[in-house]
Amino acid sequence: MQKVFERTPSIKECHTHYCPGCGHGIVHRLVAETIDELGIHDRTIGIAPVGCAVLAYNYMDVDMVEVPHGRAPAVATGIKRVLPGNIVFSYQGDGDLASIGAAEILHATHRAENLTVIFVNNAVYGMTGGQMAPTTLNDQVTSTSPQGRTVKHDGYPLQVSEILAVLPGSIYIERCSVYNPAQVRKTKKAIQKAFQLQIDGAEGLSLVEVLSPCPTYWRKSPVQAMKWIEQEMTKVFPLGCIKDTTL
């Protein structure tokens, strides 16, 4: 029988702590496959955030450090500056990157750090129990916006990728999703490109934002969650390449 799919070596053979229907597992796999396909396993250093992906080092088999909430781009900067020959990526959620770590990602981009950022946006704080994030959609119910988020009270969902794209220090920013196989393949391509640019020594930061489901705190079934990304989330966070200076 022909083998059509197998676990890539940089993903460990284990169960994850992620909820059923969570998108992190898919994104982890895409990152690990990319690392293996590009042959950079031996020199890759990953940074785990605070948030649901805090235990990413338990699933991805590369050197990793777990850092204070939001500070991944600063730690990544420290590593990359002393080890310029290594490939350094941060893996961050929307609370981590868009809220508490807004300054760090903004300035790592502004400094044109040669880093790769995987930004998993699920519009909610998962690890702490489903609170409102800066990326939470209007009318979305969370434990800290029980009547649904309103502009009057909490302002607008924050589009970090668009903000970062304005800065000359970003060289490649693409927003993808994992709501169907075609989108997963697009996401993989984007992640590959974001790593390849770092390998090539391109001067600037690459970021792939992945709209990812959180069925648990969206109070939806996994299938409904995927649909909600396609129908609702992409209205506020349109998919596609936001910036590519290499074209």
Binding site: H41, V75, I79, V82, L106, H107, H110
Partner: protein, 357 residues
Amino acid sequence: MSEKILMCGNEALSEAAIIAGVDAYFGYPITPQNEVPAYMARRMPQEGRVFLQSESELAAINMVFGAAAAGKLAMTSSSSPGISLMQEGISYMCAAQMPAVVVNVMRGGPGLGNISPSQGDYFQATRGGGHGDYRTIVLAPGSVQEMADLTHKAFELADLYRIVVMVLADGLLGQMMEPITLDHLKPIKTKAKPWALTGAKGRKQNIIKTLLLQGNELEVLNLKLQEVYRQIGDEQTRYDTYQVEDADIILVAYGITSKITRAAVSKARQKGIKAGWVRPITLWPFPSKVLTELAKEPRIFLAVEMSNGQMVEDVRLAVGGGGPVLFYGRAGGAVPTVDEVLEHIEKIMLPEVMKKA
């Protein structure tokens, strides 16, 4: 003979760090330590090493975290308000046992305070400073020469014990110039770092983390840290004394205040008052034993600080019921003068001398 050069404390500590072998400096501007990043910005690239101005102190300490995790010698410097911002990162680094050097050139507080010298961060420095049950080694230079020597030592200790070492100075020591020598300082011998993140080439994945959820693994880490702290207490406690043997009153002071009090002790001796002096060089571990020993004879202890009384609590703990522990301090950026301290000694001791007569 080694050549003397005139240097300010901030530059002296910077050059000493370079000699020790610091691979990377990250920092954010704040007075009165701006000479450090300015010096590093010029010198580090000359040495082919990393200098980077960060967007905040939060970022600076986390850049240090990154460089340390990569197995490199890294440092940052700041002053009181900036050091407060760094406490998060210091806690994480101590949990992860990352070696690094943090320099605090203290200024007047609380709040934005002023830019005058102060010793108001003693509690913060010696009690860990951030959240959780940890310590940092705290070295207190008492001269520009020691700004260099103890910063150099800080790298040695950080690397040896895998711990964050704080050099606790003040605006006066940072800004003042004195003749110093650097010839005796050499690059430190660093330990192998099999734990460092360098890419998992030919070995298993390295993980540096501080989240420990399983069973009692966090307690195990805590006990391991405490064991390191006990070892540091045994091996690295440092202090200096002056004319303590026959002293009726012993002044205890660190940093720039120790210089001032030492002069006051000399003047008191000239006036027939048997004064002595103990200078803690490591504020953590605090040199309790020497004070406990001295307190076995009937003596008065006088702690002098540029604060409203912080180190004096450690003096009280060390002295126990051994004798009265008094305090004299100036705060908010004020610096005690030799005459002020002398006057204070006289106020305490003249009635004592009278009583004895």
